[in-house]
């Protein structure tokens, strides 16, 4: 077991897959000569050369479209967005071309492409640069959405994503690139649509992913454990397809569910989880499902307002206690 950062884990995944399959290439803003805005592509230009590690102009719609076209004719592009906020410029390409091509071409054109980059808020970047957009991509049929929360999953899931024949939305976190963890030695992949129970518990199921999971939920669960509340913590790892059976089985055991996510409340990923759970676990629920989300406002720039808008440990604890009828 080696200990690596998420940045290194993603780098290894791309390195290994580009070595394994010469159709794989990376393009995006500053991925080549600058070694990536967050240094995820460190050393790849040197290793694979400018034909496979390509610096693009600041033109997301353009290079996303180039990537989709390349995928349609047999290559397996990785398109890096400097952040997912900038993908909104390429939203039409992703939603109307990448996601729909297989269906609208009558099955003729697969689009095996990975769009990846950091999502969510960092610190004081303002409303347009701080968005957790997983729900708007998960909403679109034809897209898969992957959100790793640790180096092991980042590497294993990215390798699987690159090998997948469908467009993948791979959302990282810019404040987590330096976070370290163990990864298995040698070649491994992690299948999409398989979640993980991070901590077994009996009182309440908590579902959370990515940065909020590691920075907020895990800490809240730790404090709840000190209070004697046994939380079963689930990291779905893939937002779509979601590992429903894992969540259902846990809710059937604990009878309570809290969902903690960075995104906004309305039509958020958590809302979808609530819907599936009420449908499949109705007779197992002992309390209404609680959600912790970002406030339903553009994220403020001011530090104090930013902090109070985002999910925090106190709000998670309150939600869990509410689901337990403790408040």
């Amino acid at each position: 077991m080696a200990v690596v950062s998420i940045r290194e884990a993603l780098n290894q995944a791309m390195d290994e897959e580009m070595t394994r399959d010469e159709r794989v290439f990376l393009m995006g803003e500053e991925v080549a000569q600058y070694n990536g805005a967050y240094k995820v592509s460190q050393g790849l230009l040197q290793k694979f050369g400018p034909r496979r590690i390509i610096d693009t102009p600041i033109a997301e719609a353009g290079f996303a479209g180039v990537g989709i076209g390349a995928a349609m004719v047999g290559l397996r592009p990785i398109v890096e967005f400097m952040t997912w906020n900038f993908s909104l410029v390429a939203y039409d390409q992703i939603v109307n071309h990448a996601a729909k091509m297989l269906s609208m071409s009558g099955g003729h054109f697969h689009v095996p492409i990975v769009f990846r980059g950091p999502g969510g808020a960092a610190h004081n970047l303002g409303a347009t640069h701080s968005q957790a957009l997983e729900s708007i991509y998960a909403h679109i049929p034809g897209l898969k959405v992957v959100m790793p929360s640790n180096p092991r999953d980042a590497k294993g899931l990215l390798k699987t994503a690159i090998r997948d024949d469908n467009p993948i939305i791979f959302i990282e976190s810019e404040v987590m690139y330096g976070e370290k963890g163990e990864i298995p030695d040698g070649e491994y992949t992690i299948p999409l649509g398989v979640g993980e129970i991070l901590r077994e518990g009996t009182d309440v199921t908590v579902v959370s992913w990515s940065k909020i999971l590691q920075h907020v939920t895990v800490k809240a669960v730790q404090r709840l454990a000190e209070e004697g509340i046994s939380v079963e913590l689930i990291d779905p790892r893939t937002i779509k397809p979601m590992d429903w059976e894992l969540i259902f089985a846990s809710v059937r055991k604990t009878n309570r569910l809290v969902i903690v996510e960075e995104g906004w409340p309305f039509a958020g990923v958590g809302a979808q989880i609530v819907d599936e759970v009420q449908k499949h676990c109705f007779d197992d629920l002992d309390a209404p499902v609680e959600r912790v989300t970002q406030e339903d406002v553009p994220l403020p720039y001011a530090h104090n307002l930013e902090v109070s808008s985002l999910p925090n440990i106190q709000r998670v604890i309150r939600a869990v206690r509410k689901a337990m009828y403790l408040d």
Partner: protein, 410 residues
């Protein structure tokens, strides 16, 4: 024109009605005034007439089904009329949503002689009869045959949740061996009839809102017995003690307006008439048919009317106005040998008289101990409008009247 038949409001306290029987089938012709359906309210079984002629196009609530007041139960229309628009807001079969108690009951027969008191009857709280429980608690209750309505929930607004059931479920022990010689009854949950639910709600409401107090008085019944015997000896109509009581109460009530009254928050309404209800036991409850204007009726008229009312009450054939609008109630358990008891006020009335049996007892008369007959009566009063002395004076006068019964003929 197509018309919706709505569940009528058949009593003051009715919130929903049960369809006992449709006398017309779907597709059958209906003439205005014909009996369409029999409905069980919380008080009685009633027949509902058709208000329009046409075809009974659609029965929305079928026999055995329940509907809240004002909910459509059928549609009458011409044969070729499109009634789909009338059916769009019909709840799915089996749905029995409670209506606000103030919902209009357009087709309810208005009680012709209902006194103003009716309009001030406190709106009954709408009860769904359904316990508030989490889906899990509901499932556990069903699996373990627990009646959720008997559990007090610890969740918000009394929601029954898993932890409320756990002691009951885990506390289950295998049944101890039962002695073969002792027959053991079956424990079962019996759904309450509408009338039972109404009694439960109204008695609870009465005991919780009206501060009751009780005054008991003993009446020498020798004169009343002799009086009744004399009259019955010469009359074809045989008077009962209840007839005498009703008449005596009517006469007394008008002289004690606070007792013949109802509490209205910032004022009380004193009634100018003595509308006396008499409690009649039924198999699954009781009804209180009302004899109106007893102050104007003679003993024999009271006898005739009361006999008819009681009989129809037992057959559950009272009309709405016949069990509404009482200003005072008499409850008599004398026939069971009960010496005395206290009754719960029948809201919105101010008082109720509980009457025991006429019993033999030694009495001192002219310095001698002889066997006499006496009867105990207890007045339950709403202390918000009736004070102890008022109740005592009422009973004092009632006693005096019963002990000099000739004045009942005046």
């Amino acid at each position: 024109m197509a018309t919706k038949i709505l569940m009528p409001k058949l009593s003051d306290t009715m919130t929903e009605g049960l369809i006992l029987k449709w006398l017309k089938a779907e597709g059958e012709k209906v003439k205005q005034g014909e009996i369409l359906v029999e409905i069980e309210s919380d008080k009685a079984d009633m027949e509902l007439e058709a208000y329009d002629s046409g075809l009974l196009r659609k029965i929305i609530v079928s026999q055995g089904g329940k509907a809240p007041i004002g909910a459509p139960i059928a549609v009458i229309a011409a044969a070729d009329e499109d009634i789909s628009a009338l059916l769009t807001d019909v709840p799915p079969p089996g749905a029995s949503k409670p209506q606000p108690a103030t919902s209009p009951a357009a087709q309810a027969p208005a009680p012709a002689t209902a006194p103003a008191a009716l309009s001030v009857t406190p709106s009954p709280v709408v009860e769904t009869g359904k316990a508030k429980a989490s889906p899990l608690a509901r499932r556990l209750a069903e699996e373990n045959r627990i009646d959720l309505r008997r559990i007090s929930g610890s969740g918000p607004q009394g929601r029954v949740i898993k932890r409320d059931l756990e002691p009951l479920i885990s506390g289950k022990v295998p049944a101890a061996p039962v002695s073969a010689t002792v027959p053991t009854g079956e424990t079962k949950d019996v759904e309450l009839s509408l009338i039972r639910k109404t009694i439960a709600r109204r008695m609870q409401e009465s005991k919780q809102t009206a501060p009751h107090f009780y005054v008991t008085m003993d009446v020498d019944m020798e004169p009343a017995m002799a009086f009744r015997e004399q009259l019955n000896a010469v009359s074809a109509v045989k008077l009962s003690f209840t007839d005498l009581l009703v008449k005596a109460c009517a006469a007394t009530l008008l002289k004690h307006p606070n007792v013949n009254a109802t509490y209205l928050g910032d004022r009380m309404r004193q009634f100018g008439e003595a509308n006396i209800a008499v409690a009649v036991a039924l198999e699954d409850g009781l009804v209180t048919p009302v004899l109106r204007n007893c102050e104007r009726k003679g003993l024999f008229q009271i006898n005739t009317e009361l006999r008819d009312l009681v009989e129809r009450a037992r057959n559950r054939r009272l009309k709405a106005e016949e069990y509404q609008g009482a200003t005072f109630t008499i409850s008599n358990l004398g026939m069971f040998g009960v010496e005395d008891f206290v009754a719960i006020i029948n809201p919105p009335e101010g008082a109720i008289l509980a009457v025991g049996a006429i019993l033999e007892a030694p009495v001192v008369r002219n310095g001698q101990i002889v066997v006499g007959h006496h009867m105990k009566m207890t007045l339950s009063s709403d202390h918000r409008i009736i004070d102890g002395a008022v109740a005592a004076r009422f009973l004092q006068e009632l006693k005096a009247t019963l002990e000099r019964p000739a004045q009942l003929l005046l």
